[in-house]
């Protein structure tokens, strides 16, 4: 509620006192688990074409060696939607899907922010580890990733 008080004081705008939720929370997304990061990254990559099957393939590719089940992707998508990080809607039915609709997903602002924070944290971890274990180690891993990415 501090943000509301500050807005009221500085902008002289009329904000109702009984706001149903704390607007300040919009700036503080929950931290993400590793699988959630993969799913959000997949949605970010796929843009307009993000739905169950494509998200699963993308996550499978990002996870490399691990086998990912489609069900695990659904569970994570539901959780991310509950957290307000992604939004979903049903598309039109398609004959190649047996006349059934797709549930498409897109990244919400909260999800983008959470993913940015995760990426920044990963970068900080990488910098510290590379500094301690040396430039050779960092180069070797860089080469290995390059090879894996083809």
């Amino acid at each position: 509620m501090e943000l509301v008080a500050s807005l009221r004081k500085n902008l002289l705008i009329d904000i109702p006192a009984d706001l149903p939720y704390d607007v300040g929370q919009m700036a503080k997304p929950d931290s993400l688990g590793q699988f959630e990061q993969l799913v959000l990254t997949a949605i970010l990559t796929l843009r307009e074409d993000a739905y169950g099957v494509t998200i699963h393939s993308e996550v499978q590719e990002l996870a490399r060696s691990k086998t990912i089940s489609l069900g695990a992707v659904y569970v994570t998508l539901d959780r991310l939607e509950d957290k307000g990080m992604v939004a979903s809607w049903l598309s039109d039915p398609k004959p190649e899907r047996g006349g059934r609709a797709k549930r498409c997903y897109r990244l919400e602002a909260l999800g983008e922010r959470a993913l940015q924070e995760s990426a920044a944290t990963a970068k900080r971890v990488w910098d510290v580890v590379a500094e301690i274990w040396g430039k050779e180690w960092a180069k070797e891993w860089g080469k290995r990733w390059g090879k894996e990415a083809g």
Binding site: L70, G71, R79, G84, R97, K102
Partner: protein, 229 residues
């Protein structure tokens, strides 16, 4: 050439999928179809997780806890009234927990498979009725296989009547609040905060009210029974 799963296999899988996500999951499974074996394996791996996710979305932990407490109290009161010796037996309390737990499972599953949009008082009583149906089936299995685990018929009937009344009343007070999120495009987290089933101060005061009401009703029943005996 048709390259998809047979209608029968699809229909069987559709029965197990909650209606809220049936359309997209069946479509995704169809799109991934390579062979019947791969399709069945895919479905076997996917469906349980989809159901679990649906339970997580539809079940409110606080409400489930209240329901569990209420149902168990209902069966305890019934045993106190109809067959008090059961309470003193070695596994008596555990035996009473079985129909209460089964009814609770029925309530949760009814919410998972409920078709949202059309709400009525009769529909709210359907969950407890489904739960009691399951409890009776399980008790029937016990009566046939291991009567030591079964609850005596008198206690079972009284317990069912009491739990049906109490759990229906509870559901009318706290209607299942699922799918507030899927019908709209606003972020779910904020919607929950703006007035989820029990996610606010009003919900908390309702919980306290229900617990107090149940406690008073239990004390009253116990007092009446004590006065008679």
């Amino acid at each position: 050439m048709f390259n998809g799963p047979s209608r029968i296999v699809e229909a069987i899988i559709a029965v197990f999928l909650p209606p809220a996500c049936r359309e997209e999951v069946l479509g995704d499974l169809y799109e991934r179809y390579r062979s019947l074996q791969q399709y069945s394996l895919d479905a076997l791996r996917t469906v349980p997780l989809v159901i679990m996710s649906r339970i997580r979305r539809t079940a409110d932990p606080q409400l489930v806890l209240i329901q569990a407490f209420t149902l168990y109290i209902a069966f305890l009161s019934a045993a106190w009234f109809a067959d008090r010796a059961l309470l003193g037996e070695q596994r008596g309390l555990l035996r009473l927990a079985i129909p209460a737990g089964t009814e609770l499972a029925g309530l949760i599953l009814d919410d998972v498979y409920a078709n949202r949009g059309r709400s009525s008082l009769l529909k709210l009583a359907r969950g407890p009725a489904v739960g009691l149906g399951l409890a009776f089936v399980l008790e029937g299995v016990f009566w046939a296989s291991d009567p030591n685990l079964a609850v005596p018929l008198g206690s079972m009937l009284y317990g069912c009547a009491l739990s049906l009344t109490v759990s229906s009343a509870l559901r009318m007070m706290f209607p299942p609040g699922a799918d507030q999120l899927q019908g709209v495009s606003a972020p779910a987290h904020w919607l929950k905060q703006a007035g989820g089933t029990l996610g606010n101060a009003r919900g908390a005061s309702q919980v306290v009210f229900v617990i107090v009401a149940v406690a008073i009703a239990t004390i009253w029943v116990a007092y009446q029974v004590w006065k008679r005996g």
